[in-house]
Structures are given as structure tokens and as C-alpha cells.
Point group: C5
Chain length 360, copies 5
């Protein structure tokens, strides 16, 4: 029974910085994540440039250029780099703290010159069959998006392709559309997780009909734990998307509204599915429990049938094993046969009784 | 135990198009559905025309004619056809995407020149005794309704009859009334499903009073799963109808409002019924579980009665089967008879005890 | 286990008219209800007239007379009569449909010149010990109330007496007060049902303390089903009364407001009681289940005590029943007595053990 | 298992007056409560007068005197007296009905010249260890409070002392403060009940750790029933206090607002405690149920150990009790000893097995 | 099974002062807490002074000084001191009552010249492994914060350090920021408790997979009780922080708003975690219960296997132990061997059966 990743992380990290002044930048995640990778994509309808830069200062110019820029930072464990970035882009100290302090509840905050979104990016790791959770923080400025990820690897590759190849409308649209696209990709990732869970649930259902064992129970429990984690991520996600959609910030254009509504619909769909799956799982638990009872019933029946048939027979045999001097039956010629007759009759009567009770 | 159709579909399809730009038209359903069938009905109070057309272009004129037109498209797997239609009727890219992307949560969206409604049409397939779910998308324009279905066959035949024969007020009313009629027919279809479920529940209740087996449990589970699916369809349906009813779009006339309120009442009634049935089902599970316990109790009693009567008797017989040289009872004349007496007494006392405990 | 009346009715009837145009008058109830009975009471503070009429036309004059008129129609299966009435009193087609289409969810609708209320009238049938449910529809006009019932017999007799004898303030008040009185009488009828349920629950509680059997479980289940039905009636009832109370229609005078608030309080009280009783019932189920377990425990203890005492004894007897040539104990003078000694000791030790474990 | 007082009362009383015109004064409680006791306290900052009067007319003057007057009526079964009082103080007929009709849900109503509050006063009767519930109705006029109780005895003695001795600010304040004080005393009474329930729960928890019996279950059930009753009283109580606090009636002065908020906080605290206790209780039920299962497990283990050790031994003994003519072992010199050896070996192996399974 | 601290305290204390006039200062906690310790910190950006004072009067000057002052009072059992302080700082009598009356529900109240906040400070006592709860009351004036604690020792040490060393922005900010910092520290303390609970839950999960005993159940129950207490503290905490954040009091500056929002997010995160942990716990209970059933199953299987194998064998042996004179088998040369053959065959058949049923 693996411990559900998200919960433990959440419970463990907080206390590392309890009591520190708010806005103190402390990275709370794993320390051995290697160097930070900074990449950017800068584009408008006609031009496109993509590069991996060495220092964060290389990205400072994008704050004011009219083209749309997407600065992606893989790795957030370099506190000094974060401070420099925060100062240049005028991010609030608490925003920087939230970016570094992974394990955040998804949230959305609106500032005068930028919007700040924190999300959990879930992905299914095929190797160790675990759901991996990573905090993605997005800062949406007038013509730039900065995305912060805990480590290299994300669900944004298709978006990068679309930007490179000018596929769809993304190159014609503004930074808010880019931000929407990133959120949409993350939300789509949840569906993939739900599919995996759905498959797992189906395989458990098959086990339940066949021959459920204690392992089945632990599987049910593990799926349930995963649903609890998922649910904890998705409900605030819905709030975030809803707030974005209802936002009146000038940073989000009216035309993007319908796309955000679409994402919002997806989050509702995810929530619906999760709630349904939870109902399924609780039903499976009931089946498991009653299948245990049923099996116990079967065991008991076997014992009862065998015992109730043979106990009286053994008694009869015991009777004629007694050593009384005066026992007339013992000397009868057909005594032995008669004893067998009695015993067979008892057994037959018993069997008829059991058949009537439908135990056989 | 069949896997509940709606859930699985929902969970499976999403990921096929994860990461694609929004508005990309991808059909996600089964591919082998045969040719698309396009039919239309064009009518006003005095005229009526019905035809099955070959190309979608034949229906383009209806966008502006003053008569009411109902264009029905059975089969949505022809992406190019959809694009042509969408361009002509000025449908938003996301609307087209939702139409193609079956497995949607029921939804309602309002645009300047049309309203868009997605619903699940449920029907009970008598052959394989399964509930079939199909996504129906409706586009309501000023004087036309376009309906999209996944395949041929629907619950609209009575409406067609009413239009053909000018039965009721439908020929006198506008396109919004036609749209209402279609929604009403779909909602009425839910009642048919609920009846089937109701019958199933009653048959299970009878099994429960009679002789519940493990199959009964799986039936309960299967009904429960169906209720979970139904519930997932109906709650958003209620929201859709409620939004339609409260809509202030000029496309819906004031006189249609009361009809929509009527449909809304029906959705509430469906929800009430589902919630009550769910309560019923959970009660049935309790009965099942306690009937297992009761049966185990019965088995145990039989075993206990037989064993507790014969074990002491066998012991007595064992005593006098011992081979001690000096055992005075063995030589008594009435020893054997006395032994029988002792044994019969024990048995009678036991039986009296059991009767007192009400085990017999 | 009776099937709960309200649920089944609701589930069954709908589909009879699926697909018909809205407003089509189809009576969906039992067909063999005998002739329709139309009675009216016409009164003001000083005058009173009561009569049973033959044709509905005899009641048409009351639409405009300044006196208060209560037209009561027992039996709604005459569709033509309904149509005539509806035309004269200008009732909306959907209102007529709701009146005929019994099994409605309680509802309230406001029209310009009349208010429409649908309620479930519950009464306890002493003969077959069942709760009977009947749909009562009320139309409140400026100076008349029309009430529609499925069959003869209702809870309004005391109101009739009060009108006849000018008891209380009813003769001094307007039609809205009459309408309130009818609703109040129906709501009071729910308390009678709750009392019956309360008595049933108390009798089940006594069974539970005494000697619960499988019948007790089915009683619990049956009460629970009844509560589910009741609950389904009462929650919408509360909404109806609440809407009436908050209504700003000129048909309801300000002075009637406080009376409606009183009825509203009663519906809340009914809901509170139902929810409490539901809690009670679920507690009773727990007791039942654990009493089964306790009984199984008792059975098992008896078996275990008998078996664990006698099995070792029988073993000892078996030992000395062996036929080995060289068994010194067999030839001892006190061998037999010693064997008895051993066996008694074993039994005593066992009994002490059981007493320590508090099994005896 | 006592039946929970509040529920039964509520369910039983209603039907006694079903169908009567609203505002009919009928006393529904016990009839043999002795004479009615009317007392009053009349005071301002400097003067104080207290008296028990014979006729209700003696209290009529207080309606207009500028001093604060508290008229307390113990016993509400004298309908004529109530009518006289109601006429003089201009109470609405429905208010009088609510006062007489005990078993009301706590409620608050605002009239032009007075406020009306109905509460349940709970007290713990030390003698028969039961919670006693009594309806207290309060009428707050411009400078008087009239309190109605079902019988002599209440939780107001400390308030009387404070008025007599001019303790605290009560003598300096207005009638609304007096009314608040009475409500506060009633709410404080709930805490006393909760303490009793808390003690009961703790004693049950101890039983659960020690040796739970079927009586423990019935205790749990009884506490649970009491919580259900309490909860039914407290939730509407919260609404009453909340409505009072938010009231804009000129009868409640601004300075009293903060005191009412304090009472409101207390009701919330009571609700929180009740909900927590309910959670506790449901946890206790789980423990009880699993302790039954555990005990059954223990019983089964004893049976299994004894049986599985001795059954094979008895078999061995049975073998050598057979009377075959040709059985070589029987004639061996060490046959008997060898048989013992086999039997002891079997027993030892069994014991080792059981130890490995941790059954011993 | 420890009784959950918070609940009992809450339930017990109330009644000590039932009936007293509101605003009466009565200390309800333990009496033997030693002398009261009063300390203050007075600072602005450039100056800092810290001192422990003897009499409360030494702190009276801070009411008007322009510097920010934090007066901390450890111990609230000196009623007279409280009165003096209350008079000088013009605290409402009910506020003083709430400060003294520990066991309050967290609350927030707004007055013209100060804000009042009551919180529960939770800390984990490493020694006796218990969660300790202490009421902290905060009064925020224009340029001072007064904090009241039940006893010496708190979670504020890091804040003191930050003030002393001018770390972070605290010395540059106003009293409202100090107040926020205190609340933040208390909320952070909840995370520490959650971690401990998380660890406990993980250790229980391991026990559950391994070998759950009755102690495991009591651990689950104890964690569950703790969660109930926590939950009761946290929900009102959320309301308090939310009210603070939305407050429009001039005592809270706009710049502090974002920090309060941050605290609010933390409370939401705590609530999410608690709800998830509760779900976990209920899942663990299910596992525990089914592991009991599984073990019973295992016990039953052993018994059944042994019994069903040997009972028939013993019967066979019993047959040939009978003493009939005419029993031909007994005289056969291979009779004995044949009997063994029969017995071995029976055993083998039985074993094959069991293997088929997967019992072995």
C-alpha cells in the first residue's frame, strides 16, 4: 500500500518554515534536482524565437517587448535567481514564496499588473505506476507568461509544437490565450489520470466477481486514497478556473472568456467523474465485504454438513463398541448389518434435510 | 456485471485529443457508423415539407427562410461536413468541437445569434437489456433548429408525427417551441429508464425476501452503478433546462417560458426519484448483508444442536468402550439399559435447553 | 414487504404519455372510479349555500359572483369536463395537464388571474394499514377556489363544518383564506401519518430489545421506505408553501400571510421530524445487525463450551478403549476410577477457564 | 431503552387539533397540572416589587407603566385566562395558539408592538435521570416581558436573584435586556445537558475498552437518540437567536445587540459540540461492532485449537480400538508407548503451528 | 484511549457560571497556575524595548504612544488585574468575559476602537504525546496588540526574535501586521499537529497491512477523536480569518490584506487536509473490520479442514471398534490394511476437494 503522494508531501513540508517571516524565500522540496533550466519562446503572428538561456537576466527584456513571450523555468530551488526575477517583474514577496513553497493548494490571485495562478500538474509515471504531482506556477503579465515547474518534463510539449508550427490560433492570440492553453493542458492531464484509475477500478471489479482476496481490498483502499488526493487537487482547481473566468482584469481579453468557460466545464466533468468513481469504489467495498461473509458461509456449511452427518454415525458405532457383558444386539446374527442399516438411514435423512435447506 | 456504459465512455475518450488546440475538430467515437443521414423538416402553420438530402449544402438556405426548419443530422463523424455547416451557420469552433466530442457533460451556451444545448439521450435497448446513451446537440437559431445525433434512431418520432399532421400547437409555434419539444422528448425518455430501473428494483426486492444469493448482490451493485451514471447525466441536465428557462435571449419567446418550466419540473422529479431509488438500493444492501448473517446463524445453530447433543453421548459410549479389567458397571445386568437411559436423558435435557433458547 | 405506493406510481405513470404534445389532456390514473362528483359551497359572512351539481356548467357563474365559492371536483377522469372547465376559467393547458396527470411533484405556479397549487394529500387507511396518497390540485381565483381530487373522501370535512356553522373566521375571510385552510388541513394530515410511523417505530424498538427476528428487519426496511416516500412529498411541499408565503400576487391578502407562515412552520416541523425519524431508523438497523452478531456469538459459545469440554474427555475414553496387549493401566485395580478422576479434573479445569473468560 | 421524550411528544400531539380553525385555543398537554401560578416582578433602577397574584387582571396595568415588568405564568392549561390576557395585550390569535400548543419548534415572530419567541427549556431531572423538556414562550413588549411555562420550576432563579439584589446591570436595563437574560439562561441550560451527555459518553467509552455487552449497545443507542432530540431543538434555536440579533425592531435596543451575539455564539458552540459528539458516538458504535467480532474470533480460536488438537488424537486412539484380528501393532511390546508417542508428537506439532499463526 | 482534550474541556466548563449575569468575570480554568507574567515589546523601525513588568499599570502608557506595543499576558486567572486592564483599554465586559472564559469557540469581533480575536493555540507536547490546546485572545488597538494566554509557553518565539533583530519587515509595519504575525504563527502550529497525525496514520496503516490487533482499532479511534477536535477548532478559525480579511475596520491597513489572505489560504489547506485524513481514517476502519473477518475466515478454514478430514476417519475406526460377534471384516487377513486404505483414500479425496476450493 503506497502512501498517497500528495497528502504526505503536503503534511510534511509546512513545518520546515513555520515561524519564518512571511515572504521569506525558502525552497522546501528535494535539494538534489540539478541545475535550473530556463527557456523562452518569443513570438507574434509572423516571428518566432526559442532559446535556452544561461542566466535569468537574459529574459528581463521580455517584460516590455510587444511580442508574446513565454519564459519557462524548470527548477525553483535557486532562491537567489527567484529573487532577481521577482524584483525585475515586480512580483509580490508572497507570490515568490508560494512559487517556492511547493505543495500549495491551487490558487488564483489578481494583482494590478499581473495575475498569479498555482496549479498541480499530475502525470502518470508509467515506470513505477504512480501518479506524479508537480506544482506549476504561472504569472500572466501584459505580454508575457512565466511558468515555474519543479523539474524538467511537463505536459506542454504539444503547445510548444503549436507555437513553433503556428498551428491553430495560438500565434495570433495574446499572452492570456497562451496562459489559457497551459491551464488547459494541465486540466487535460487529469483526464489521463482518471482513465488509469478507471482501468484499475475495472480490473478490481473483475477480481471481485472472480475470487477476491485480501490484496483486492488493499487495491480498493489504494484507489480510494488516490481519489482522495485527486479530489483535494481538483476542487480548488475548479475555483481557480472559475475565478479566472469571472475575472475582470484587463489582462484577460473578452475573446478568451469562452475558452476559459470550456476549461471550467472540463473541471466540472472531472469532479463529476471523481464523485461517481468514489461511489463506485464504496460499492466495491460492500461487495468485497459481503463476499468474505459469503465465503465464510460456504466454509461453515461444509463443516456443518460433514459434522452433522458423521457425529451421529460415530455415536452409533460408539454404542456397539461398548463392552457391556449383556448387550443382546451384539450377538444377533444380523446385528452388524442392522447397525450399518441404521447408520446409512441416518446419513440419508440428513442429506435429504440439507437438500431441503438448499445447502447442497 | 456489465461496466456502466456512460462512465467508461467518459473516462476513456478525453485523452485521445489531449494537447490539441481548442476548437480542433476530432471525432472521438466509433468509426464504423456508416454514412451520415441528413434530413430536414420545413414548416409553418400552413405548409410542410420533409426531405432526406444528400449534401449539407442543401440545407444552407434554411438559415434565412422565414419558415421554421428542423435539420437533423444522424452521424457526426464526417469532420469536413461539420466544418462546412459550422462556417455557414457561423458556429463557434468550440461549439463544433463539443458536437463532435461526444461524452460531453450536458451543457448550455448562449451566443448572439444562436443557442447551443448538449444533452444525453438515454434509451433502453430491449435486446441486450442495456441503457444506451447518445449525445444530442441542438443549435437553436432564429427560425431553425439543427440537431446532431451520433447515429440513426431517436426519441423524436412522435414530434415528427405531430409536425406532419399539425397535431397540437407545434406548427403554429416558433423554432424555440420545436427546440423545447425535442428537449421534452429527451427528458421524457429518462422516465422510461427510471421505470425499467424501478421494475428491476422490485424484482430484486422479491429475491431479497425469498432467497438472496450472491447474484442478488451483483444485481444490486449493477442497479447502483446505473443510478450513478443516471445521476451524473441528470444533475447537469437540470442546470441546462434551468439556464434555458431563465435565459433572456430574444431567441426564446416569453410564451415558451412556461413550457420550459414544465420540463424543469420534470427534471426535478427525475432527480427526486433517483435520490429515492438510491436510498432504496442502500436499504436493499443492508437487507442482503443481514440475510447473509442470518443464514450463517442458521447454519451455526444446526451444527451446534447436533454437536452438543451427540458429543456427550459419544463420550458416554466411549466410557463403556474402555477396556479396564475392573469396571463394575459392565457386568451389571441392566448396565447396558442404564447407559441408554443416561444417554437418552442427556439428549432430552439438551433438547429442552435448546427449546428454551428458542433455537428449535 | 409492500412496495412503497408513491414511488411506484410516480415511476410507472410518466411513460404512458411520453411524446404527446404538452398540454394534451390524458388521464393516467385508474379508470374505474365511477362518476365524477361536483359540489360547491358559496358563502359570504351572512349567506351560505351548498349543493351537489350535475353538470360543470352549473358552476360557471361563480367566476364572477362577489361571494366566495369553493368548487370541489371528486374525480378527474372526465377529460371533456376538464376541458370545459379549463376554457371557462381560462386555465392554461399545462395546468389542466398537471391536474389530470396525477403523480405530480407538489408545485406552485402563479398566473395573472389565478394561482395554481398541486399537493399530495396523505391519509392513513385503517383497513389495510397503508398510507394512501392522492393528488389535490387547487386553483385560487379572485373569489373562488376550485379543488380537484382523484376520488371521493378527503381531509376537508372539518373545514366544511366550519363554513356551514360560521365557526372561526373563515366566513368573514376571502378566498385566499379558504385556500390556506385547505392547504393547512392537508399539511395537518401529514402529522397523523407521522404519528402512525412513530408508533410503528416504537413497536419495532420494543421488538429489538426483546427478540428481533428477520421480520423485524423487514419492518425496519418497510418503515424506511415509507419515510423515503414521505420525504419526497414533504420537501417540495415546503417549497410550495414558502413560495405561496413570499408571493406578491394580489390574490393573496396581507392578513393571510401570517397564516401561511404558520403552515410553513408546520412543514418545517414535519421535515425535522422526518429527518429525526430517519436517524432513529438507521440506529435501529445498527442494533438489529449487532443483535444478530450477538446471537451468533451466543451460539458459538455454547458449541465451544460443550465441544472443548467433551472432546478431551472422549479422547481419554478413546485411549483406554485401545486394544494394545500391553497396557498396564488397564489391569490396575483403581484404573477405572483414576480414568474418571482424570476426566473430571479436565472438565473442572475447563469450566474454571470458561468462567474466567466470562463465558459462563 | 427509554423513548426519547421530545420526539414522541412532538409526534403525538399534533393530531389532537387537526382540522380545527387556526387560532383555536386548545391546550394539548397533560391536564392534571394543578392551578396556574401568576407572578410578576416590576422594577426600575431604584424600585422593585414582586408578587404572586390571583387573577390575571392584576397584571393588566403593566402594559403601560414605564417600569420594566416581568409577568411569569406557570401553567398554560387555562384557556379562558389565556384569552383574557391575549385580548388585553393584543396578542395575535396564532401567537396564543402557539403558546398553548406545546411541542412547538422554537420560533421567532415579529409584530408591530411586540416580539414573540418560543423556546424549549431543557433541564436534567436528577431523580429519574431523564432530560425534561418544557416549552417556554416569551412576549417582549415595550416595557414588559410575559413568559409562559408549562409548569412550576425553571432555570430563571438566578435572574430573579439578580433583579431582587440589583446585581449586574439588569435593573438599569430595559425589557429587551430582561428578555435576553431569559433566553441566555435557557441556552446555558443546554450546556448542562451536554455535560451530562458527555459524562455518559465517557462512561460508555470506558465500558467499550473494558468489556462491552449488549447493554453497552443500548446505552449508545439511547445517547444517540438523545442527541437526535437535542439537535432538533438546537438548530431552530440558533435560527431564533440569529433572527433576534438581526432584528431591526425598535423593541430591541442597539446595546442589547452584542449580548444577543454572545448568545448566538453559544448556540453555535452547542451545535458544534453536538455534531462532534455525534461523530464520537458513531465511532463508538464501530468499536462496539468490531469488539463483538473480535470476541467471536476469540471464541472460534479456542474451539479450533481444542478441536484440531484432539480430533486427530482421538482418531489415533480409535485406530487401536479396532477389533481386527490381525493388527500387529497391538501385540508389540512398546505399541502402547508408541501410540502415546505419536499422539504427543501430533499435539506438539499442532501447538507449534498455532504459535506460528499467533493464535497462542 | 485518552479522552480528547478539547471536547471534554468545552463540555465541562460552561455550567460553572450558568445563570451569572453576562460580563461577570469568572475564571473557569485550573486554579494552580502560579503568578501571572506580563511582558511587553515596544518598537518602531529604529527603537526597540522589551521588559517583564510587575504590575499591569506599567503597560497603561502604551495605549497612546505612537510606537507599536505588544503586551503579552501569560495567565488570566487574576480577575482583578483583568478588570483594571479592561477599564483602561475600554474593553467591553463581554470581551473580558470571553478572555477569561477559556474553552471559547474561535471568534472575531469588531469594536470601534479595537478588534478582538479568540483562537485556539495547539501545540504537540512531546513528553506525554498529547495535543495541548490553549486559548489565545488578541486585542488589536490602533498601535498596540494585547495577547492573553492561559500559561507561559507559546509558538511566538520566532516572532519575538524577528522583532528583536529587526528581521523581515515586522519592525517597519504597524500593529495590524504584528497581529497578523501572531495569527499566522498559531495557524502554522496546526500544520505541525497535522504532521504528527499524518505520521500516526501512516504507522497505523503499516499495522493494518501487517497484523492488526484490537489496539490498532483503539488507535484508529483515538486519531479519529483527535480529528474531530481539530476540525471543531479549525472551521471557526477559518471564519475568523475570513472575517478579518474582509474587515473594513480602519485598524487593518490595506497592505495587510494580502497577508491575511495568505493565512486564509492556509486555513483552507488545513481544512482540506483534515477532511482528506478523515476519509483516510474511515477507509482504515473498513480495512480493519474486514481483516477481522478475514482472520475469522482463516480460523474457520483450519477447523473445517481438520474436522472434515478426521471426523469420517474416526467414524471408520469406530465401525471396526464395534463388538458385534458376527463382523466378517474383522477376521479377514488384510482387514486392517484395508481399513487403513479406506481411511487414507477418504483423507486424500478430502484434501483434493479443499485444494479445488482453494482452501489450501
Amino acid at each position: 500500500m503506497k502512501k498517497p503522494a500528495v497528502r504526505t508531501k503536503l503534511v510534511e513540508k509546512r513545518s520546515k518554515k513555520a515561524g519564518l517571516p512571511p515572504g521569506t524565500l525558502v525552497y522546501v522540496g528535494d535539494k538534489d534536482l540539478g541545475p535550473i533550466r530556463i527557456t523562452y519562446m518569443d513570438y507574434d503572428e509572423h516571428n518566432f524565437h526559442e532559446e535556452q538561456v544561461k542566466t535569468i537576466e537574459d529574459c528581463f527584456a521580455f517584460k516590455t517587448t510587444p511580442t508574446v513571450s513565454w519564459i519557462n523555468i524548470d527548477g525553483i530551488h535557486d532562491v537567489r535567481l527567484m529573487e532577481k526575477l521577482g524584483n525585475h517583474y515586480e512580483l509580490h514577496a508572497l507570490v515568490l514564496e508560494d512559487i517556492l513553497h511547493t505543495g500549495q493548494r491551487p490558487k488564483y490571485e489578481e494583482f494590478d499588473n499581473y495575475l498569479f495562478v498555482v496549479l498541480n500538474m499530475l502525470s502518470y509515471n508509467q515506470e513505477n505506476q504512480a501518479v506524479e504531482s508537480e506544482q506549476v506556477s504561472l504569472v500572466l503579465g501584459p505580454n508575457y507568461v512565466i511558468s515555474f515547474q519543479e523539474r524538467v518534463g511537463d505536459v506542454f510539449d504539444q503547445i510548444r509544437e503549436r507555437i513553433r508550427n503556428a498551428k491553430g490560433r495560438i500565434r495570433k492570440m495574446n499572452a492570456d490565450y497562451l496562459c489559457y492553453s497551459l491551464i488547459d493542458a494541465i486540466v487535460d492531464g487529469y483526464f489521463a489520470i482518471l482513465e488509469k484509475v478507471g482501468e484499475k477500478i475495472e480490473s478490481i471489479e473483475e477480481e471481485l466477481i472472480g475470487d477476491p482476496t485480501e490484496r483486492t481490498l488493499h487495491k480498493i483502499h489504494s484507489v480510494k486514497s488516490r481519489m482522495i488526493s485527486l479530489r483535494k487537487s481538483v476542487w480548488p482547481l475548479r475555483e481557480v478556473v472559475s475565478a479566472l473566468q469571472r475575472s475582470e482584469s484587463p489582462l484577460i481579453q473578452a475573446t478568451t472568456g469562452i475558452y476559459l468557460r470550456d476549461v471550467y466545464d472540463h473541471t466540472i466533468q472531472i469532479i463529476d467523474t471523481i464523485e461517481s468513481l468514489r461511489d463506485m469504489i464504496s460499492g466495491m467495498l460492500d461487495i468485497y465485504l459481503s463476499s468474505i461473509s459469503n465465503r465464510m458461509n460456504a466454509v461453515m456449511k461444509v463443516l456443518t454438513i460433514i459434522a452433522t452427518i458423521f457425529i451421529p454415525l460415530t455415536f452409533v458405532a460408539g454404542i456397539y463398541g461398548m463392552n457391556f457383558v449383556y448387550m443382546p444386539e451384539l450377538k444377533w446374527k444380523w446385528g452388524y448389518a442392522a447397525a450399518w442399516g441404521v447408520m446409512v438411514s441416518i446419513a440419508v435423512v440428513m442429506l435429504i434435510c440439507f437438500r431441503r435447506k438448499k445447502w447442497l
